[in-house]
Every structure is written in C-alpha cells, then in structure tokens.
Amino acid sequence: FVLTQGNPRWEKTDLTYRIENYTPDLSEAEVDHAIEKAFQLWSNVTPLTFTKLPAGQADIMISFVRGDHHDNSPFDGSGGNLAHAFQPGPGIGGDAHFDEDERWTNNYRDYNLYRVAAHELGHSLGLSHSTDIGALMYPNYIFSGDVQLAQDDINGIQTIYGPSKNPTQPTGSQTPEVCDSKLTFDAITTIRGELMFFKDRFYMRANSVYPEVELNFISVFWPSLPSGIEAAYELAERDEIRFFKGSKYWAVLGQDVLRGYPKDIHSSFGFPRTVKHIDAAVSEEDTGKTYFFVANKYWRYDEYKRSMDAGYPKMIAHDFPGIGHKVDAVFKKDGFFYFFHGTRQYKFDAKTKRILSLQKANSWFNC
C-alpha cells in the first residue's frame, strides 16, 4: 500500500458524505446502496463512521460529472479515466467524482459502481495507488465478481486511522507471492504446453519464454468461473480445460466457457453422492484416462467410453506409494506425474511406482 504524499488524514472519525447528483444508469436507490456499501468496507476495519447528509456541505461530496468539470482534472469520455477523488482536507478535499460518460452498473458489466467507489473512497481517506494487484487500491479497473478489501488495503488504512473497535473486523484476502516458501495451490493444470497454477482468485503462469511468473485474476481469462477452483485438468485431445469446484465443473476452450456448463460431477462422471468435491485431477493424453483424487482415494475415468473404469475407487497410497493420503493438485508432464500436497511436490514415475524427487510446491517459479 502507499499513503498519499504528506500523509493527509481526517482529524475526526465521524465523517459525513453527500451524493450531489445521480447517474441515469442506475436507480437512486442502487447508487445509494453502492456508495453505502463502499463506505462500509472502510468503516468495517477502522474507527471511521460515515453518515449520509441529504443536503449541505459534507466532508466527502460525491458527484457524477463529465469532461471538464472545473477541478483541473477533466474526464476523457468513455473508457480511460473512470473516476478520481481528492485527498482528505477541507473544501474539495475528500470529494469523489465519477465520469458520467461511463456506463455505471451494479453487476459484472463495465463499470461496477460499488467496485470503483470502494477504490475512490480509499483516496478520499488518504490512500494512494498500491502495486498489489489484489488490492482495491490497485489503479486499473479489475472486477472479479466480488468486492473485498485485500489485506494490503486494510494494512494501509489502519496505518492511517488504526483498527476498528469491533473485535470481529474482517481480515483481507492475501495476494499470493510466487516465491513465498509457504505457497500452496488449489489446482494446477497444463494448458497448451504451459502450466497454470490456481490459488484463491488468482492464477500464476509459468512458461519458458518469460522468466517472470505472471500473476493475475482468474476472471481476466474466465470471468464466469468462481474463485477457489479445487481441481483442473486438460483434455488435450479436445483442447479443453475442465475446472472443478464443489459438485460442479466447467469446460473451457481457450477463454470461452462451453455452453451448458457448469454441469454436475455425479451425473457427468458417475461419482457417488458421497463425493462432494474433487481434490485434484489429471488426464493422460496417450491413454485417455483421467484420474480423480478425492480424500485418500482415487477414481479413473475413461474419456473415450465416457464412463468410470470398474474397480474404483482405489486407495491412493496403494498405487501412488509415498505421496501421502491426500492430493491438492496434480499434473502430468513428460511422462511423469507431479503431485502437490501443502508445500510439498512429488515427482512420481507411474511405471516404477517410485518417487523420483521431492521439491517445494513453487519450484516451477525459479525463485
């Protein structure tokens, strides 16, 4: 996080705001609700309170304006600049302006007012732009379906105003750090020759051309996929990736989620009702067999026959000795399985049923 230069802050905690005018894109009630929710994000983690005034001068004046609106920072029509806000202080200090040449929404379509207001109010309270891509104070518009303060935002605002008195204040989501030795993964899959690692709302992507690991939101590629993917595998023959969460799964072709998904894992793969979710999955291009790992057992599914092979489930420990009783993620590369559990990664040779090496889970990131 970054504090605004000079550390401007409000000297009182009971702040007021007023919505001077309304965008025709949303009903007044929807605008009020979006702005109220945005203030709540910040009041939940600080001693600050925000009271809406129906008229008169408030600490934070909110308005929808277009082009040059006489504050030395003209808006630029549709796209580009979406909004801006001023640091704490008298007069225009703290005020937030939203570009009326944008379309304001209360859903995932551009641009979600709640999401942009949450960011601008961070400026109104004294925060500047963060380099943490998972933070609300990151300067570019990214809407991943939900709006929550990252731990980086909370650390920043509490540096200025201290924590909330409410003992149950929320903690923020943590953006994964690729070289964190404690990094674990929700799911991993190959994708057209690359590897993609999934953690919470994020993916990490490693390939041989770029030395740095790319970290971004899953929603950048697949906006309709949920966060917290639990398993994923590539069905290379059909150039499909399948993502699993709970009893649902999605099939994507490149960046397109195929029609008719999500589907149910019980009716599609024949899992018993006792299976509530999949821990990990991997498919073998040469045999057409897909391995599903659930708790301490695994199933084998025949992609050609589209049915589970007989005799399953079997115990993981029996056929994959040494990798433990639970798998977080798995993929296959160059004939070898790579099993992940916690911070451990096992390279496993299925032919000899031996572990060839034990590494850190993030060993692919050249830390």
Binding site: S73, L82, H123, T131, N140
Partner: protein
Amino acid sequence: HSFPVAPETQQQDVETVQKYLEKYYDLKDVGTHIERRRNSGSVVEKLKQMQEFFGLRVTGKPDAETMKVMKQPRCGVPDVAR
C-alpha cells in the same frame, strides 16, 4: 507471437504513451515534438517507472504488454506523487 504493427498504430502508441506518462507519472509536458521525445531519457525513465509499478518487464520500451496495461480503464489519480 505478435505481428508487425502498421506505422500509424505506432504513432498512436507514441501519443498514448506520452499522454499516459504525463497524466500518471508526472512526465513534464514541455510541448516538444512528440516524435523526437519518443526516445528521450525522461520518457524511457518514466516508462520504466510505470512498468516497475505494474510488475511488467522493465524495458523502457512501449512493448505490447505495456501498451495493453496502458489502455486498461483506470482511476484518474496519478500513481506517483506530483
């Protein structure tokens, strides 16, 4: 696997970079002819500052990845103190 871009797109990119850096990275707008500035030290420095901020490859050049980030809609507050 990006393809060669047409000359006019390059010209547009130069202007995009100029405006972006003036707006968010305190690049001084001295009104000098854009073409000549493309390689000026201050543009390269500011571009590196922006690339570092966004975690991009710090090349000092308006490469495709950098242009993609520059064209994303964003907040109008600068990323660096003015």
